[in-house]
Symmetry: C2
Subunit: 200 residues, 2 copies
DNA sequence: GGATTTAATGACTGAGGAGTCAGTAGTGCC
DNA sequence: GGCACTACTGACTCCTCAGTCATTAAATCC
């Protein structure tokens, strides 16, 4: 076995990484700090050197939620592209985010532990969900104003348009081993649905 | 406090009911057998009289997955109703199932513990997911044959059509306390989406 | 090379919870 | 009423795991 090294700077990141994997796989209660330590290639005590409690580590892991890039928002506010093009761009971005294993693990954690740690839900909601909602609403508003989209029950609640992407994400953390989801094909079908609904 | 009663027949059902609530709220690892017992109005030892281990109780709870009624299938196979009508009927049924608290709890359990107990995923997949998929496929096939639906990327993967319903179900077990989902409005928006996509 | 600092270790402690079982009491039979 | 049977109870045992801390050794300074 390799000799131990002192790497004060690198440890916290590596431990959080290991925590993400363990909490994501087992949930907060079932995850064992010793397993986190082993995965981070460190002794159990070392984990507690950087994070005072299991809960503190968990919070650091949960804080990993990366914000959905909202640079599309500027593009939406200006007049570039048709509503359909913007919608396609936004949805493609959702699928790309979803493909990252880190996003999958974080989503699992959010669903599993959201009730016990509401702060996770709140930050994910603020940082990802609400942004996506706002963008969808703007796109649909603009489409209606431009006469590209006919108003109706759907345009009153544009978040419905993201539904299939959410389903795909959930599928990946549940039934994928049983029936793998063809992700590109799924995304294309989703875009086709939106195109049929809003196209000419 | 009331005197204890001997009710050999009623206990198992009551204990499973209590288990559903506890496992659904906390997950397998964090749920405490003593809490299950209290909820079932019984002493801890009594639970072990009927279920030898925590895991055995969990399996009994998970086996509660109620099949999606597939009486629609017959209607689909015959020629009653337009594709759009059948689609609307199927989706409405999904939303109705989703509104039942038992379904919500079971879905939480499936997502939280599916990795540790793959049998849950398998039974839910066989009993609900696959049936819904088959029905969607049949409806779309029939619609194409009847010239009501134009084939494309969407019709190659009709499960995408259920996406928003899945999103609604997931929303209920996550963000609902933060931003309650107007469920009827959501269903109407979903039906509107499908109607726009497949309507005239 | 020796002294000093501190990152890292892992055997240990205490708490909590699954599972046990000797004892209690509800129920039915004579 | 007394007896037999067994559903039910809850204090107890044992084990797992979060968190501790005395000890070890890597790095740095002189």
């Amino acid at each position: 076995m390799p000799t131990r090294r002192r790497r004060k700077e690198a440890r916290p990141g590596e431990i959080v990484e290991a925590g993400l994997a363990e909490f994501g796989a087992r949930g907060f209660a079932a995850a064992r700090m010793e397993d986190v330590a082993r995965r981070a290639q460190v002794a159990k005590g070392t984990v507690f050197l950087y994070f005072p409690t299991k809960e503190a580590l968990f919070e650091a892991v949960a804080a990993r939620a990366t914000p959905l890039q909202d640079d599309l928002l500027a593009q939406i506010e200006s007049e570039q592209g048709s509503s359909l093009d913007l919608l396609r761009a936004l949805l493609s971005r959702l699928y790309a985010a979803m493909a990252r294993p880190e996003t999958v693990a974080l989503m699992r954690i959010m669903i599993m532990e959201g009730q016990r740690f509401p702060a996770i839900l709140e930050s994910w909601h603020r940082v990802s969900v609400q942004r996506a909602q706002v963008m969808l609403e703007r796109i649909v508003e603009r489409g209606i104003a431009a006469g590209e989209i006919r108003p109706g029950a759907l345009t009153a609640l544009p978040m419905v348009l993201a539904g299939p992407a959410v389903m795909a994400a959930l599928w990946r953390i549940t039934f994928d081993p049983l029936q793998p989801l063809p992700i590109e094909q799924f995304r294309d079908a989703h875009l086709d649905l939106v195109t049929r609904a809003f196209g000419p």
